[in-house]
């Protein structure tokens, strides 16, 4: 898709979409940098006594980003098996697989797919309904659109990044 498909009657929308994606990219860059710096044994450590391990939070962020793919109508999850380990269950220090290297690889794969699609989306796409809201609810609550997913997931990632930074 090219620029022609964007809604050029509304330059503020293009600007706003850029702002939201920029904030998302910033958080991703910070997480990338952090997991690139931390030795594996630090990531397997708890972020604070009795709190989630860095490993769990990394897996959690990978799983939540993976779930954005179907939520935004961009296809299927790459790694549906992650949800049971890193989302629906709390951290369990016996779990050390998938490996940290695998999680990092998954992360890059998912973020790269999302970024690729984001470049192709028009402002009308962004303001359309995401897949966890019904057409009826969306008619009443038009803010439950795809762009709002990015705003919320960016904040979610900041929240956990604030915890993972304690491993430094």
């Amino acid at each position: 898709m090219d620029q022609v498909q964007h809604n050029h009657a509304n330059p503020q929308a293009d600007l706003f979409i850029k702002m939201v994606i920029q904030a998302w990219d910033t958080q991703n860059d910070r997480l990338d940098k952090l997991i690139g710096q931390l030795p594996e044994e630090r990531l397997y450590a708890q972020t604070a006594p009795g709190k989630n391990r860095g490993y769990y939070l990394l897996g959690h962020l990978v799983a939540i980003s993976d779930a954005m793919i179907p939520l935004l109508g961009l296809g299927e999850k790459f790694h549906p098996e992650l949800e049971a380990i890193f989302v629906s269950k709390p951290d369990n220090t016996n779990i050390i697989s998938p490996s940290i290297d695998d999680l990092k690889k998954y992360w890059k794969e998912i973020i790269s797919k999302l970024s690729h699609h984001f470049k192709l989306m028009s402002s009308d796409d962004w303001f359309s309904r995401h897949n966890a809201v019904s057409p009826e609810d969306f008619a009443r609550e038009p803010f439950r659109n795809k762009l709002n997913i990015i705003i919320n997931r960016t904040n979610h990632q900041s929240y956990h990044l604030g915890q993972m930074i304690y491993l430094k």
Copy 2:
């Protein structure tokens, strides 16, 4: 100001301003709830061994929110003295003043002032330059607008809220 001053040629703009403010309000509500639940001695504790106290992070968030008032062109800071304690210097466990009750009071006062002004701002106001960017830089980088301050500060608050939650 009333609805007439909003740009009604651009209903998407009203919608995304609403999305950004909603995310900001959500983080504020979470912080409100957390500081309402934590006993004072917990807030004076470190969020993790050797890490910032809840008290410092609360003061930090109050100071950063207070600084949004001039940044958005809405007036002067209520408490300029907070910056030296909670922003430009790291946490120092000898510091226990202003009191937590005072910080909570300042917080409510600042958030209430911001909310009041946000309701009066038109979409053109939101997409105008904030006061930490020059007109020249803004011409090149129009995303450095007032609405972007809210997006960034919401993420900043999520980050520290992820740390403060460790006090529970």
